[in-house]
């Protein structure tokens, strides 16, 4: 895989200096003290980028919109003063995943230069790709989140990305219409298939993200999703986000990844309609509730899973001429978001008003999972740990 070098020595030096400074600050400031090593119960993290541009006043400020997010908040920690690192959707979401304020190019459809949270976790924990998933609703940009271009990490440590709206959609239904829905595999035939595949000699041309066994598992999952789940039938406004969340919940049950991330975008419908935006928030909260119920209903997941939810940035304070909400007025409603953290290692029912940043999520998640994030410039979320 091609891995271009970082843009320049100056930029690299700047980033490294920032990381060192941030680390020094984290060590010296009791607000950002690290959790006790070895004492953490968290074994899995679900990170939800409740993104598309969502104001706190429309989520935790209006509990009726987000009853499930409020369930998490009631038993977890809310950071209402979390500063957005970037005000463009792609760069802002990527900033959360890298822990670095990202500047993205004009087309905003290329990989970043910093390692992502997936790479940190997979490399240090030596996880297969099935251990880190991203369920995205970002179109072609989604796969860019899988890994960055830094030579020290990169493609071998990338996430399995799936964009449900890209597969479980009307276009793919037309493929199904043309060829018919694939039949579920007879277990005997499936075993024979795997024996046959295993018998084919060494013709592999290079490393793949998933090994043969995992690829076969993912294949089976896609067939099951098409043939046996309700995901394909999710339609209407906000269905892309709903699918991303539904898929994340299914993947959590099937693959039990160490790190699951969901990236949402449909709230951006707000540009044209405030009401449609609220509907997206409500629908996403409903799907978030399904994930929470999945975790709570599974003995293995219940006491070992942490969930973090935050948007990439907020939206303008006032409605635009279309009765919608843009994102560009430099208001606090735009620049600050609410981050909700729930899990066995966190305080319960607390609101921490200390200033923090969306780039703090990456190092916090890494710390939870016991790995380092050396190029991330964020700090640990303050006073999070119990």
């Amino acid at each position: 895989m091609d891995t271009p070098s970082l843009p320049s020595v100056t930029r690299r030096g700047f980033l490294q200096a920032g990381a060192v400074a941030a680390s020094a600050l984290a060590l010296s400031n009791p607000l950002f003290a690290a959790p006790p090593v070895g004492a953490l119960k968290t074994k899995r993290v679900v990170l939800v980028l409740f993104a598309g541009g969502v104001r706190s006043k429309d989520t935790i400020g209006t509990p009726a919109n987000v009853p499930n997010l409020m369930r998490l908040a009631a038993q977890g920690v809310v950071f209402p003063n979390c500063a957005a690192a970037n005000l463009g959707h792609y760069g802002a979401s990527l900033s959360i995943l890298t822990g670095v304020p990202e500047y993205m190019g004009i087309r905003e459809n290329s990989r970043g230069f910093n390692p992502t949270i997936f790479e940190y976790v997979r490399k240090e924990l030596k996880l297969p790709a099935s251990g880190a998933w991203l369920s995205a609703n970002n179109g072609s940009q989604g796969v860019n989140f899988a890994y960055g271009l830094n030579r020290g990490w990169g493609a071998p440590f990338g996430a399995n990305v799936i964009d449900g709206e890209g597969i479980f959609n009307q276009e793919f239904r037309e493929v199904l219409g043309q060829f018919g829905t694939p039949r579920a595999d007879d277990p005997k035939a499936y075993a024979a298939l795997n024996r046959l595949r295993g018998a084919i000699g060494d013709g592999v041309t290079g490393p793949a993200l998933n090994d043969e066994v995992t690829a076969a598992r993912v294949e089976k999952y896609i067939v099951d999703e098409i043939t046996q789940s309700e995901t394909v039938s999710l339609t209407g406004p906000g269905s892309g986000d709903a699918k991303a969340l539904r898929i994340a919940g299914n993947i959590l049950q099937i693959f039990r990844p160490v790190l699951s991330c969901v990236s949402l975008t449909n709230a951006d419908v707000a540009h044209g309609s405030f009401n449609a935006y609220v509907d997206v928030i409500k629908r996403n909260d409903q799907e978030l509730g399904r994930i929470l119920d999945t975790v709570l209903g599974d003995a293995q997941l219940r006491d070992s899973t942490s969930i973090l939810v935050l948007p990439e940035f907020g939206r303008d304070k006032n409605l635009n001429q279309r009765n919608g909400l843009d994102h560009g007025d430099a208001s606090d409603e735009l620049n600050k978001v609410a981050c909700v953290a729930w899990g066995p290692d966190f305080k319960a029912g607390k609101t921490i008003a200390t200033d923090c940043s969306t780039i703090d999520v990456c190092p916090t998640v890494c710390k939870l999972l016991g790995v380092e994030s050396p190029l991330a410039r964020g700090r640990l979320l303050p006073r999070l740990f119990s």
Partner: protein, 373 residues
């Protein structure tokens, strides 16, 4: 005035290996004079060259047509064919991301492959038409996006390192007098014309096509020579490509399998299983779904299963009087090689144990070896 020689030119993603050896690129292939057969070595060559020229594996009629022709003659003919021109055009549209809603839909654009194949349209003119189209304009709205994409994609210039050039281009796009790349203009049309006529256009195109075929960057001297030839002989593109595929370097490249892109995979699956090329909508639906995964291999396997389950691909299930002959036939057809003794006995054992022809085919097509060419 900006000296073109001093521009920050972006290289097209060179691969992990060293650049292609210049001597091997200048040397003719060892097998050029020999007539093609359907033996494994020739199968592999025909398959690779067809993928590189047509963006897919050969159709049954193309396998047939290749037999008996001297390799060099077949390369020259295929490089000048309509399918090669069509693939070149489609790859350029994808390169400029003029796909889906931005795909050019006028008769003038539909005619481009035929004009290219008939040597009535040059590569330079094709690129100029693409970049000056309403579709490119819609895909790249606004002065900053438009100027950046033209400079980056048409000329390979790293605009972040040329801020003065970008600002001048944006001014010209906005209708103000400006000097871009040493030429004056005062409109978007002037900017497109100046960029399309710039001598960096040929090396940028030649380098990306060469890299697509060889998986690596061309030697600098060869890049300069081929670019100059394309500039001086604007209709010589098919001859230039034929020279690449007729080289010893290409024979060496064929010996090293490379992964099929999602686009190549979709077209090849239709060609191999259904004996035809997918229409654009079929191609688009499958391509877009595959692009939704960071590792598309599992979904590729699902597509294979769907086609096989549906029965539409039963014509590809194969021939052979005995299980061993069936296995040999299918290995040769889909993997361009005979099975090893161990592979043959394992497959025969499963067939005798009840594995049907579809399952055998599914195993071959979903294996990583079929995902390369």
């Amino acid at each position: 005035m900006i000296d073109p020689v001093s521009l920050s030119i972006r290289r097209f993603a060179p691969g992990p290996r060293d650049v292609i050896a210049a001597a091997a690129l200048e040397a003719p292939g060892a097998e050029l004079q020999r007539s093609l057969t359907l033996a494994p070595l020739d199968r592999r060559f025909i398959r690779a060259a067809t993928v590189d020229l047509a963006g897919r594996t050969p159709l049954p009629s193309e396998w047939q047509a290749a037999q008996g022709k001297p390799r060099g003659e077949w390369i020259r003919e295929f490089s000048s064919s309509f399918v090669a021109a069509e693939c070149c055009y489609e790859e350029e549209l994808f390169y400029f991301l003029l796909i889906d809603n931005f795909r050019p839909s006028t008769d003038a654009f539909a005619a481009i492959p035929q004009l290219l194949a008939g040597r009535k349209l040059s590569i330079r003119e094709m690129l100029r038409q693409i970049v000056s189209s309403q579709f490119f304009n819609a895909r790249n709205p606004g002065n900053d996006t438009f100027a950046t994409v033209v400079l980056e994609q048409l000329l390979g210039i790293t605009v972040q390192k040329e801020p003065a050039l970008l600002e001048a281009a944006k001014r010209m796009y906005d209708g103000y007098p400006a000097n871009v790349l040493g030429k004056s203009g005062s409109s978007q049309a002037d900017f497109v014309r100046i960029a399309a006529e710039h001598p960096q256009s040929e090396p940028c195109f030649v380098e990306r096509r060469f890299t697509a075929i060889f998986g690596d960057a061309p030697p600098k001297k060869r890049l300069a020579a081929d670019s100059e030839r394309l500039r001086n002989e604007p209709l010589s593109w098919p001859d230039l490509v034929a020279g690449w595929l007729g080289s010893l370097a290409y024979e060496q490249r064929v010996a090293q399998p490379r992964p099929k892109s999602d686009r190549v995979f979709v077209r090849s699956l239709y060609a191999d299983l259904l004996g035809r090329v997918p229409d654009y909508q079929e191609f688009r639906r499958c391509r877009n779904a595959l692009l939704a995964l960071s590792d598309s291999r599992p979904l590729r396997s699902v597509l294979i299963k769907m086609m096989l389950d549906s029965g539409v691909a039963d014509g590809a299930l194969g021939n052979g009087a005995t299980p061993a002959e069936q296995v040999a036939d299918r290995f040769l057809h889909f993997l361009a090689r005979p099975p090893t003794a161990a592979e043959s006995s394992a497959f025969v054992r499963e067939i005798e144990g009840g594995a049907d022809a579809r399952l055998v085919l599914r195993a071959l097509l979903t294996h990583s070896e079929y995902q390369s060419y």
